[in-house]
Structures are given as C-alpha cells and as structure tokens.
C-alpha cells in the first residue's frame, strides 16, 4: 500500500477522480507530514486554527501547498524571512495565492527563504537557515530554499516560490526536484514582496514536470492588479511528449565555464547523450553576452531592490526602532536593526549604482547588456528550440562555505541569471547524482532547459519527455523524498 504522501499531485488527482482517495484523507495526510519539519523549512505552519481563516478553503479537493513567505497572505504572518517584518500580517492576499485558494488548495504554511529573496543558499534568513534534506550539513539553495526543501523532504507535495536570478531553479537543482521560472509576465506579481521588479516571477516547485504543469496552469493569467502581467496564451495542458525527435537543443559555448564541478559536468554530458538517445539533436550556440549576465544582474537587481525596500521605514507597518529620536534616527535604526547583512549589502550596491554620476555607467550600461543578452537568445532560438546548461556550477555546498565571499555566492547564479535578464522561461529537472568536489555522498544535479518567451507548453513537453527518459534509462533517479530514492 503506497503511502498517500508518496503520490505525486497528478497521481493523487487521478486517484481522487477514480474514487480511490478522498480529498480529506489526502489533505490530512499532508498536514500531518508537514508537522514533522526538522529542517526549518516552514516559518509558519497552518495548524488550521482560527487564525488561518483568511486562507482556508471551503472545499479542499486539491493538493495542499506550501507557499514561500514572500507572498502576502491576509491575516497570516508574512515576513520575507526578515526581522523588519516580524509579526506583520498583511491586509490582503497575493493574486497567485488567491488563485490557488479559489482552486481548492489548502495552504500548508509559509516557507523559509533568503531574506527578501536575496541569496542562493537560504543562509540569509533572519529565522535560521534551511537544511538540505539530502544532507543536513548542506544548504538547500536559495532564495526559495524552504519551498524546495519542503517538497524534497516530503513536507509538502508541491510549493510555490519566486525566481529573480535563479531562486527557484537553483534550489530545485540542489534538492533534486523540478523548478520552473515562467516567462516574465506569465504570473501576476501582485502580492509578491518585490525584490527586483523587472525580474521577479512566481513559479512552481514540484516532484515532477507534470505536477509543475498542473500548478502553472492554475497560476498563470493576466491580472488587473499587475499591469506587467500577460498570462500565457492558450493556457497550459498536461505534457505528453514521448520523445525528443525533431527538437534541437543548443549548448552555449560561452557558458561552458571552467568553474563547473566535475561531477556536475559529468551528469550534464550524460544528459546530453540521453537527449540524443531520445531523438533530440545537440548543437552549439553562441550567447556572446551571457557571460556578463552576473555583472548586469548584480547592478540591476540591487538597484531595483534598493528602491523596493525603501518602504521598510518603520512608519506604517513592521518593525520600528529608534522612535524616541528624530525622524532620521528612526529610519536608520529601524533599517539597520531590521535588515540582515546581505540585504544591506545589496541596498548599498543598488543605491550606489543609481546615485548621481553613476547611473549611466552602471544601471544604464547593465540595461544595455540586458538587451544584448535578450538578443543573443533570440538569435539562438532561430537555430534551436531550447538552450540547455547545468542549472548550477556545483551540487549543494556546505553551510557556511560561501558566506564570507559574496562574489563567490553570486557565482551560483551564473547559468540562471541570463534567462532572468532575457525574461524567458526556464526549468530545472533532476538529471542525476554526483559527488561534491571535496568528496562525500552523492547529491542531486539539475539540468536547465530554457525556451523562447511564452513557449512554456513546448518547454514542459520536452522536459517531460526527458524526465521520463532519465527515469527509465538511469537506475539512479534523482528524485526527492526518501522512498523514491529507495525505489530508484
């Protein structure tokens, strides 16, 4: 008898349709599983008490979900993992979450994350780091570390997170699950605490590509409250591609960096072979400006963040400190005590980049690099259907390993940032396991596939076919959740 929590969302859905599983049973199993959180994945769990009234559903016939604590949930704590929003309960709910509630998904809880989505390891949370369920001495990735770890550890069947420079894809890779960043504009940003407005996107973190498609279908759509939202024309259906024949996959020459761990490179190469085995064609493409993605990103994102985070000033909500002094003292004390180190660093960087005399050299120039990168992808997509890379340069690293070197930490985003800058969709699927550079038990490796804007359906179809291919051909399937690893 399979454990209820072993079922993917799609499998549970089918079972419910067949009358083999009651929605109530399904929900209860998951609320019970979520309570066994030993990795600090949740900042707030829904114990279904009165205080969660605003997010309770009338009829929970769909799979319960974990929500990154960056989404506003009315009456329910929303902190963005920051001290400055400790105790804050929003007076409204984010559109993405509202859609899920209306679709009958109970909310399991709010997951831990890097503070204000700034980080690649979930070590920047004011409420403690999240531990990678594969190896609790290691990071789950970030900034959606809590959501990814929850899905990987069997604390939630699926979750939503946000991706600005890789914050869904990279933790998905580190935790061995599926993570999708849709096209910019596919899902409403209303209610998503802003980090970098021109880059932030909501997206699914799931066990399988099919589950990701189910979730994306519910989330996508134009929202009158977000004037940058467009939705996906035609909606999203379950993927059902059998192989990859007729599809061309481009490997960018410029992103073949030396600083990719050997183990990661091996899995990547093997996956390329798998693609060919499934009938796909591998080709080399050129993205000449992509290598400057990190530089452009670490100007644009902090710049927008410095402006987005200026509202945390102790006036209308959240933490206030130094209120006995004058106005400036209140501002400075509140913000200095309320923000963590990484957040302050990025605010400083961003403020500097926008400041008088520096705008053109930094922000102006970075936005031009961005145009170039988008152009590079456009050109590439005239020759290939998808661009593929390893999702991250390494497997999950140890807690504390990179916290002293901000630049080294930023390099985690090397492969994910260009897609964010270009606004195109990209998915990370688990492709295998590899040993970390220093040796040790094997850890998941993610494979990233990027597609043209609004080609999510094609992307999911191809990812599905590849996922199935990897599952069948390779005994060591990098699937999260203990029983799956055992079954592999």
């Amino acid at each position: 008898m399979t454990d209820i929590v072993d079922l993917t969302v799609l499998e549970a859905h089918d079972a419910k349709m067949a009358g083999d599983l009651s929605p109530r049973e399904h929900s209860e199993a998951w609320f019970e599983a979520a309570a066994a959180d030993e990795i600090n994945a949740y900042l707030w769990r829904n114990d279904r008490a009165a205080e969660a009234a605003a997010i309770e559903v009338e009829q929970d016939w769909n799979a319960p979900i974990a929500v990154k604590d960056i989404f506003a949930t009315e009456g329910v704590p929303t902190t963005a993992a920051s001290r400055i929003l400790e105790g804050y309960r929003p007076p409204y709910t984010a559109t993405a979450v509202r859609k899920l509630i209306e679709a009958g998904l109970p909310i399991l809880g709010k997951t831990n994350m890097d503070e204000f989505a700034m980080g690649s390891s979930n070590e920047n949370s004011a409420y403690g780091p999240v531990l990678n369920p594969w190896d609790r001495t290691r990071v789950p990735g970030g900034s959606s570390g809590g959501s990814a770890a929850a899905v990987a550890a069997g604390l939630a069947p699926w979750a939503i997170g946000t991706d600005t420079g890789g914050s869904i894809r990279q933790p998905a890779a580190f935790c061995g699950i599926v993570g999708l960043k849709p096209t910019y504009g596919a899902i409403s940003r209303y209610g998503m605490i802003a980090f970098a407005s021109s880059l932030d996107q909501c997206g699914p973190l799931t066990r399988t590509v099919s589950d990701a498609a189910l979730l994306l279908a519910m989330l996508q759509g134009r929202d009158a409250c977000d004037s940058t939202s467009v939705g996906i024309d035609g909606g999203i259906s379950l993927p059902d591609r059998e192989d990859l024949s007729g599809l061309r996959f481009g490997v960018p020459a410029e992103l073949a960096s030396d600083s990719v761990d050997a183990g990661v490179r091996a899995v990547f190469e093997r996956t390329l072979e798998k693609i060919e085995g499934l009938g796909g064609e591998i080709a080399e493409v050129s993205l000449p400006s992509a290598e400057h993605g990190i530089s452009a990103y670490y100007v644009i994102a902090p710049a927008e963040a410095s402006s987005n985070l200026a509202r945390y000033d102790g006036v209308r909500y959240g933490m206030r400190a130094g209120g006995d002094g004058d106005l400036i003292e209140m501002y400075e004390t509140t913000r200095s005590e309320g923000f963590g180190t990484e957040v302050k660093r990025r605010i400083m960087l961003g403020t500097y980049a926008l400041s008088s005399g520096y705008y053109e050299a930094y922000y102006g120039q970075a936005q031009k690099v961005r145009t170039r990168i988008a152009g590079d992808f456009s050109s590439a997509f005239s020759a290939v259907d998808f661009v593929v890379t390893p999702t991250a340069p390494s497997v999950a690293f140890e807690l504390g390993e990179k916290t002293d070197d901000p630049l080294a930490m930023y390099m985690n985003d090397f492969f994910t940032v260009p897609m964010s800058l270009a606004g195109i969709p990209a998915i990370s699927i688990p492709a295998g396991l590899a040993e970390p550079e220093g040796g040790g038990p094997q850890l998941p490796v993610g494979f990233q596939i990027a597609a043209p804007a609004f080609a999510e359906q094609k992307l999911l179809d191809a990812a599905f076919a590849l996922e199935q291919g990897i599952g069948f051909d390779d005994g060591k399937v990098a699937i999260p959740y203990k029983s799956w690893v055992e079954n592999a």
Binding site: Y184, H292, G423
Partner: protein, 104 residues
C-alpha cells in the same frame, strides 16, 4: 581586499558613508570597513560591463511589450480605518505617528 584592484573602481570610505546616508542605513565602523572591501570586489567584477562596446544598444527599460495598461476611474472599497492602522507601529488619533524631522 583583493590586490589586483584597479584603484579607480574602489569605493572609498566617504562614498560608503554617503551611500549609507542616502539609503537611511547606519553602519558601524566595522561594517563600513567591510563594505568598502566587499563593494569594491563586487564593483570590480561588475565594472567589466563598463568596458563593453554597447554603442547604439537601447537599454531595456521594460521587459514586456505592453503599452497603455490602464484602470477605469471607478472607486474600489478602501480599507476600514482600523484595518489600515492595524499594523501601525504607533497609531494616534486615526493617523500614523512619526517623529518629526530634526528642527531646522
């Protein structure tokens, strides 16, 4: 501090203090020291884009190809005042109390 730094890129202590002021952050002396080093390192990396020839390239100011996304001038319910003030650190007489700026 990295020693292959191009001095022109390094951010100076005074600049760090000025930027902190603009951002309403108060940094300890130790934090200022650290920021000078960390920001210099990051800026040095970022500065590479300054060397690129991007003549004639339009900066991306908007990612989606949309225009004229507007809202009809129709009233929507405002928050009841008690809800609006519910999160206020210091509500007073139906308003948000804040310290005054320093007397001029």
């Amino acid at each position: 501090m990295p020693d292959d730094l191009d001095c022109a890129v390094m951010i100076e202590r005074e600049q760090v203090l000025h930027v902190a002021k603009l951002a309403r952050l108060r940094l300890s002396d130790e934090e200022v020291e650290r920021m000078v080093g960390e920001l210099s390192g990051i800026l040095e990396h970022v500065d590479r884009i300054g060397k690129l020839d991007l003549e004639g390239v339009e900066p991306t100011s908007h990612v989606v190809e949309l225009k004229n996304v507007l809202r009809a001038d129709e009233p929507r319910p405002s928050l009841p005042r008690d809800v609006a003030l519910a999160s206020a650190p210091e509500p007073q007489e139906g308003a948000f109390r804040v310290p005054s700026p320093q007397a001029e």
